[in-house]
């Protein structure tokens, strides 16, 4: 496998084959909690892509200097530092989004995706592959958040509001929109339906 095919391979596996949410099923709590609004997915996704990519890059580049015995504490310190940077910057420059995402931004530290990629990938791969992995996994995560956010906000409120502007509306449906979709049960229902669809798709692929 050449260098470029390997980059592409590591990048695209995060979307379906090894999607962090739908296949690896890591980092579910935060995504179930904040996917009640499409816009949340954008900010949460960007925050995760940033932390994931930069912690992957840093860990892959200094991996030869990290003693195996204390690699986990070092990973956590690195990840926590990036998360705190995102936390402070979002609070300063996107206060409205920050107040909605609230505690879930600092909690990216304990989001299993990040540590799992550090331990399972970046620690044993080159910087270039780790960039591809971080971006791909981060985008795969964001992709699912956006789909869930879109379905839940649309069914639960009858419209999609982006940066205080209604960009898409179902009209009269909005008045009867069942708010269960923006509450916690809606998160599980939506996630379960998406899982079922994905499994059906995978089963078909195997049949053929």
């Amino acid at each position: 496998m050449g260098e470029s095919t390997s980059f592409w391979f590591e990048f695209k596996k995060g979307f379906i084959l090894e999607n962090p949410l739908m296949v690896l099923m890591v980092g579910l709590c935060a995504s179930l909690a904040i996917s009640n609004k499409f816009e949340n997915g954008i900010f949460m996704g960007l925050a995760v892509i940033f932390v994931l990519t930069f912690s992957n890059i840093l860990i892959a580049s200094i991996r030869r200097f990290i003693p195996g015995e204390i690699r986990i504490p070092i990973f956590i310190v690195i990840i926590a530092s990036f998360v705190t940077m995102v936390d402070l910057s979002m609070k300063a420059y996107f206060p409205a989004a920050y107040s909605r995402l609230g505690v879930w931004i600092p909690l990216i530290v304990v989001n299993c995706i990040i540590l799992a990629r550090a331990e399972g990938f970046a620690y044993t791969h080159t910087v270039k592959q780790s960039i591809a992995d971080g971006l791909g996994m981060g985008l795969g995560y964001t992709f699912v958040l956006l789909i869930m956010g879109f379905i839940r906000e649309l069914l639960g409120t009858g419209k999609i509001v982006l940066f205080n502007k209604t960009v898409f509306s179902l009209g009269a449906y909005g008045r009867y929109a069942p708010s269960i979709f923006i509450l916690f049960p809606g998160a599980f229902l939506t996630f379960a339906c998406l899982m079922a669809l994905l499994n059906r798709y995978k089963a078909r692929q195997i049949d053929e």
Partner: protein, 187 residues
Amino acid sequence: MRQLLFKLGITLLVVGAISAAALAGTYVITRKRIEKEDREAAAKASVQAIPGLKSPSQLKEEPKLTDTAKKAVPEVTKVFSTPKGNIIVIDSRGYGGIMENAIGISPDGKVIAVSNVSNRETAGLGSKTLQPDFLDKFKGKTVKDKLQVGQDIQAVTGATISSRAVTGQVKKALEAFKAISSGGGSE
């Protein structure tokens, strides 16, 4: 063994020191902006408790009145005086966490309007109690009104706890107003 422990310790020390430096840098860059955003957001929300006020600069914080009000009602965080009446900011527990509301009260003791400063209520459900549809019900209420959910205030369907929290805050603001207008010097 000792050498290994030393090496591990030094590695952790270096990683920790670099992270601390990076975080300190980020903190210094963002601090001023975060403080400014917090202050502006609070002032912008508070000023809406009395419609007709143009900008947050028309708010005057009154430390003396705040103290008097706090003695009567501990949940009061700030009291502003404005040309059209007082604005009392209160925070207490809602359904999702602390919510802070600003309540504008006219000199004759009537609620002018209620405006939300910050909240953690469930989006689309508890948050409906912070929308004009619900908050307008408090217009003109005085300290003599009962202000009880289910009696003179109808709760938002499915958001009884949030409705009670907001109603309780309005009632407390009126009590605080009574305290400052009777005891704490005439404004």
